[in-house]
Each structure stands twice: as structure tokens, then as C-alpha cells.
């Protein structure tokens, strides 16, 4: 009985952390992209002739904003879909105790 509760606990926390990883990454990039795009439009509206140059700079910053969020989202997706390494570690740890 004990082992089921341990497995349940690990799985529950994994699901929560995966959700947090994905949602906060999405939230962060959404805010970042919103600010970036808004400022870009403002800049282009003020000085349309600088448009192409600003666009290149915007893409550079977009890449910077995007990068670490992508890592976080993928860690979340891995927890969701691939083998849960926390769970297998926990099972390995309890194996000698239960003797199964």
C-alpha cells in the first residue's frame, strides 16, 4: 500500500512541475514578445525608414527571449510524455525496502 502512495506522490509532483515548467515558460515569452513587438511597432510608426534595421534587431532579441523558454517547455513535455526519470529513480530507491 505504501508503495502505491509513494508512486502516486511522485507522479502528482511530476505532473505539477511539468505544468509549471510549460506554463511559466509560455507566460514569460508571451510577456517578452508582447513588449518587444509593441516597442517595435512604436519605433516603426515613429520612424518608418528604420523598419528593416529594427526588424533584424527585433529578431535577434526574439531569439534571445525564445531560447530558454524553449528548453523549459521541452523539459515539461519530456516529463509528460517520455519515461519519468523521477519515478524510476523513486522505484529504484524503494526496491530494496519492499524487496520486490
Amino acid at each position: 500500500m505504501e508503495i502505491t502512495s509513494i508512486v502516486g506522490q511522485v507522479q502528482a509532483f511530476s505532473v505539477l512541475s511539468a505544468g509549471l515548467l510549460i506554463s511559466f515558460a509560455a507566460l514569460g515569452t508571451a510577456i517578452g514578445f508582447g513588449l518587444l513587438g509593441g516597442k517595435f511597432l512604436e519605433g516603426v510608426a515613429r520612424q518608418p525608414e528604420l523598419g528593416p534595421m529594427l526588424m533584424v534587431r527585433m529578431f535577434i532579441v526574439a531569439g534571445l527571449v525564445d531560447a530558454f523558454a524553449a528548453i523549459s517547455i521541452v523539459m515539461g513535455l519530456l516529463l509528460f510524455f517520455a519515461e519519468n526519470s523521477f519515478l524510476s529513480n523513486a522505484l529504484l530507491a524503494v526496491k530494496p525496502v519492499v524487496g520486490a
Binding site: 535577434i60 531569439g63 525564445d66 531560447a67 528548453i71 521541452v74 513535455l77 519530456l78 519515461e83
Partner: protein, 262 residues
């Protein structure tokens, strides 16, 4: 994914496994700790690099008065990279533009391997008895760290070459003046060490993310795959170009920073 007997977890796990060579025992598929060579990453990146080199070499040797398609394309690429470099770097250099061009086209081509269907190369090689194959070199942190550490070595080299003894002085006295030299030194060390790590992890993270999402799409039933697959592939074309461009841009910026004195 068509066989019913492989679970999604196993399928993903299989696709995240490298074809590795243990350098101690020279046997395939064993983890040798530090002495493991990821053969798939190595072979694909070298083959791509050689192909690009040969193509550009061909374009260079067969230059004609009226440029053909290949020559036109190569010239456009070189001119673009050259103007980008000279917007940022203000001293005369032929090394940085060529480095930037190499980085850009090589990373772009390696990233573009992501657009091959995820099962394409592993299946074909699986027929010949290759157990695992990851076809995207830049989705392997070893490859991205190799590139970013080379860039880091160049940053240190350019710092020493451009500033000589002033380099030590700058490390100790910038930004807070000579009296706070331990803090200055610490700040400088952190600043320099963050560069290769962020360069490598940014590229790796994006490519790994892209590849994993393609794998997740491949788990879906076959009749629905094309929808999300097409959408993600189109979006991914933007990402692979952007990341290659970003790696090039940041390399140029770091190298020009190494050259400028404060």
C-alpha cells in the same frame, strides 16, 4: 509510428538515444562516461561541413563573368555576412567575416536536418543494423558546446592579442576602479564564462525542443500527423534560420567586444 507494440515512452526514449562509440573499448552502444563519442553527431556534422566546403569551393573556382545560380547565391551570402560584420566590427579584419560565414552556413545546414522526417534516417540505417541514430547534430549538447567553446577560445585569444598587458589591467580595474579589484575580477570571470554556456545552451535548447516536438507529432495517429507536422515545420524554418543567425551575430559581437578597449 506504425507498429502497435512500442509504447510512446519507449518510442521517445529510442529517438533520444545516440549512436555512441566507447573510445576505451571501441565497442558500439556502450556508455563510456567521458570517453564516449557520439558517432551520429560526429558523422552528420562532418559530412555536412565537407559538403558545404566543396560546394562553396566549386562556386569559387568556377567563377565566371556572368554569375550562375550557385555563384550568385554564394556571393549574396558572403556579401550579406560581410556587411553585417562590418556594421559591428570597426577594425579591419578578414578573419571574423569568414568565421561568421562558416558558423552561419554550417549551423543552418545542421539545424535543417531537423526538417527531415524523424524516422527517415533511423529507419534506413536500421535496415543496415544501426540501432540508434539522431540525425540533428545541433540537438546534441556536445556539438553546440564544441562550437561555443571554440568561440570562447577565440574570444580569449583576441583579448590577449588586441590588448596585451592592458588586458590584465582591464580585468582588474573595470568597472569599479582599482580598489575593488577582486569584485571586478569576479564580475569579469562570470561575464566571460556565461558567454559560451548561453551560446551553446540556446542553440541546443531550441533544436532539442524542435526535434522533440516532431517526435511527439510522430506519435499521433498517421491520418492527423500532417496538420501539426506542417505547421510546426513551417514555424521551425524560422527558428533554424534565427538560431543560426543568432549564433553568428553573438559570435561577431563577442569578438568585436574582445577587440575594443574600455
Amino acid at each position: 509510428m506504425t507498429e502497435g507494440h512500442v509504447s510512446p515512452g519507449q518510442y521517445i526514449g529510442h529517438h533520444l538515444e545516440h549512436l555512441s562509440l566507447n573510445l576505451k573499448t571501441f565497442s558500439l552502444g556502450e556508455g563510456g562516461g567521458f570517453w564516449t563519442l557520439n558517432l551520429d553527431t560526429f558523422i552528420v556534422s562532418v559530412v555536412i561541413g565537407v559538403l558545404l566546403l566543396v560546394t562553396l569551393r566549386l562556386a569559387a573556382t568556377r567563377m565566371t563573368e556572368v554569375p550562375g545560380k550557385l555563384q550568385n547565391f554564394a556571393e549574396m551570402l558572403i556579401e550579406y555576412v560581410d556587411t553585417t560584420v562590418h556594421e559591428i566590427v570597426h577594425h579591419k579584419t578578414t578573419f571574423i567575416p569568414s568565421l561568421a560565414l562558416t558558423i552561419f552556413i554550417w549551423i543552418f545546414a545542421m539545424n535543417a536536418m531537423d526538417l527531415l522526417p524523424v524516422d527517415f534516417l533511423p529507419r534506413i540505417l536500421g535496415v543496415f543494423g544501426v540501432p540508434y541514430f539522431k540525425s540533428v547534430p545541433t540537438a546534441d549538447p556536445n556539438a553546440t558546446f564544441a562550437m561555443s567553446l571554440s568561440v570562447f577560445a577565440l574570444i580569449v585569444f583576441f583579448n590577449i592579442k588586441a590588448k596585451k598587458q592592458h588586458f590584465v589591467k582591464e580585468m582588474l580595474t573595470f568597472p569599479f576602479g582599482p580598489w575593488l579589484f577582486p569584485i571586478n575580477f569576479l564580475f569579469r570571470i562570470i561575464e566571460e564564462c556565461v558567454k559560451p554556456i548561453s551560446l551553446a545552451l540556446r542553440l541546443f535548447g531550441n533544436m532539442f525542443a524542435g526535434e522533440l516536438i516532431f517526435i511527439l507529432i510522430a506519435i499521433l495517429p498517421w491520418w492527423i500527423q500532417w496538420g501539426p507536422g506542417a505547421i510546426w515545420a513551417i514555424f521551425h524554418i524560422l527558428i533554424i534560420t534565427l538560431q543560426a543567425f543568432l549564433f553568428m551575430m553573438l559570435t561577431i559581437i563577442y569578438l568585436s567586444m574582445a577587440h575594443d578597449t574600455h
